[in-house]
């Protein structure tokens, strides 16, 4: 195959980013929204998320408590709390911006929250410096459940006579694994 003369190559490299910026952005936006949508869908279909969205009447579908009680009550949320909302908000706020020209192309920066950002936005209801989302991954005590029981707050799980202990809690992958997985997916958009 005949090679392009050097001056033609240089002209293409110089003009292509400007000429192709719009079609590239259109293509990138489409792929970005696809991956973002998949990520949110995967987050919303995680058993922990489903269980927490279902609130105090949910069963322990995540299996993190051996089927006894449910995460919403175990963590100690009030019936009116919507613990998933801050995470969902952060995921929905993910976006991209134009970062500059590349060799026959353009580069975009994707803003995706770090796991640590999400942990900061998900405080335990009884100790604001601790994150319940991190606790799902590293372990969480049954203190919230007991404190809530002592106070007799509203919510079905309060009626449970079963003693819930932190030893019953089974850690599971949650936010960190999701973020790591989709960081790679966003990086691979071409």
């Amino acid at each position: 195959m005949a090679r392009l003369p050097r001056d033609v190559q240089m002209a293409i490299e110089k003009q292509a980013p400007k000429a192709l910026k719009k079609p590239f952005e259109k293509e990138f936006k489409k792929k970005f929204l696809e991956v973002k949508s998949e990520m949110i869908k995967e987050f919303l279909s995680h058993p922990v998320t489903i269980e927490l969205i279902a609130g105090p009447s949910s069963s322990n579908i995540s299996g993190t408590l051996g089927g006894i009680s449910n995460l919403f009550a175990f963590i100690g949320f009030d019936a009116s709390d919507q613990p998933i909302q801050p995470i969902l908000q952060m995921l929905e706020n993910m976006n991209y911006n134009y970062a500059g020209e590349a060799k026959i192309g353009v580069t975009y920066n994707v803003t995706i929250p770090e796991a640590s950002d999400i942990f900061k936005a998900t405080p335990l209801p009884w100790a604001s410096g601790r994150s319940w989302a991190q606790g799902i991954e590293t372990g969480i005590s049954g203190l919230g459940y007991l404190l809530r029981k002592e106070r007799g707050r509203s919510g079905k799980a309060v009626q449970s006579k079963t003693r819930i202990r932190s030893g019953r809690f089974q850690n599971t992958q949650y936010i960190s694994a999701l973020i790591n997985k989709y960081k790679k997916r966003f990086n691979n958009i071409k």
Binding site: P125, A127, G129, T138, L146, E150, R151, S166
Partner: protein, 276 residues
């Protein structure tokens, strides 16, 4: 079973934690007073125990300003630092003997525990051992865990591959639950350890622990600085991250006791080969 990595970490962490709190917070008070006879079924008749109104005593001679037990009446005794008492061993002592002395008492007792947070905070009943002298002073019973106190426990451990040849980055989560009778002291503890990020401490094997089974010092004296420097050729543990938080006031109101509760979560890191 021989000592494993996590045993060494636990021992080292506890000694470092105690020293750090005493040094950075000057979290002790020097006291002079009477020791009161308190019976102890674990001791035979040749031992006569006298308890102070406080526990635990400061053992660390590297803490500037802390008075290690001195001026104790009698010349044949051992000091049970953990239980804040003098155990006289001579036949000249009876339960009515008058024992006095001067010592430094920690603002917070330090315990290592396997109990869950809910047991520590909700289920357990504590005797509040105020550091402010009262008129009806008496000796405090041995072995009971009393507050103000900090309970330490190791929670999780994981290895991540670090380098060719099998070196790992070992990460251990250590949790501390602080129970205090006043919010000032609790805030102080949380502040001190919130600032302990990036501190390092050296691995001290369990054989290096300064106390013997009676709570006395093995060698009659103990300095954390000296002990730690004896092991400074080993790779240190790094306090990688520290998160502090307090039990919210709303949650605290549901407690049966009137204690202020704080949590300190440490992520400790060390580079090592497995089983070393």
């Amino acid at each position: 079973m021989k000592e494993q990595f996590v045993h060494t970490l636990t021992n080292s962490f506890m000694l470092w934690f105690d020293h750090f709190l005493l040094e950075k917070g000057e979290a002790f008070s020097n006291q002079t007073g009477t020791f009161y006879h308190t019976s102890d079924d674990f001791l035979d008749d040749s031992y006569v125990p006298f308890s102070s109104p406080y526990k635990q005593f400061v053992t660390d001679s590297s803490i500037v300003g802390a008075t290690l037990p001195t001026g104790i009446t009698g010349n044949s005794h051992y000091i049970d630092y953990d239980n804040g008492r003098i155990v006289e061993t001579g036949s000249n002592y009876t339960s009515s003997s008058a024992i006095t002395g001067t010592f430094a008492v920690k603002d917070f007792n330090i315990y290592f525990t396997n109990e869950t947070e809910e047991d520590l905070v909700v289920e357990n009943k504590y005797e509040v051992n105020s550091r402010i002298p009262t008129y009806n002073e008496s000796g405090i019973a041995p072995y009971d865990q009393v507050v103000p106190a900090i309970f330490l426990s190791t929670a999780t451990m994981e290895n991540e591959p670090l380098a060719f040849g099998g070196e790992e980055c070992t990460k251990v989560r250590v949790n501390a639950v602080a129970l205090s009778d006043d919010p000032y002291k609790l805030d102080g503890v949380l502040s001190i350890f919130g600032d302990s990020h990036n501190e390092v401490f050296y691995p001290i094997p369990m054989s290096g622990h300064p106390n013997n089974e009676y709570g006395d010092l093995k060698d009659g004296t103990y300095s954390y600085d000296t002990l730690s420097s004896a092991y400074s050729d080993n790779k240190p543990f790094l306090v990688d991250t520290v998160t502090t938080s307090k039990l919210t006031d709303k949650a605290r109101k549901s407690l049966a006791n009137d204690l202020y509760v704080g949590f300190i979560d440490f992520d400790i890191q060390v580079h090592r080969f497995r089983f070393s």
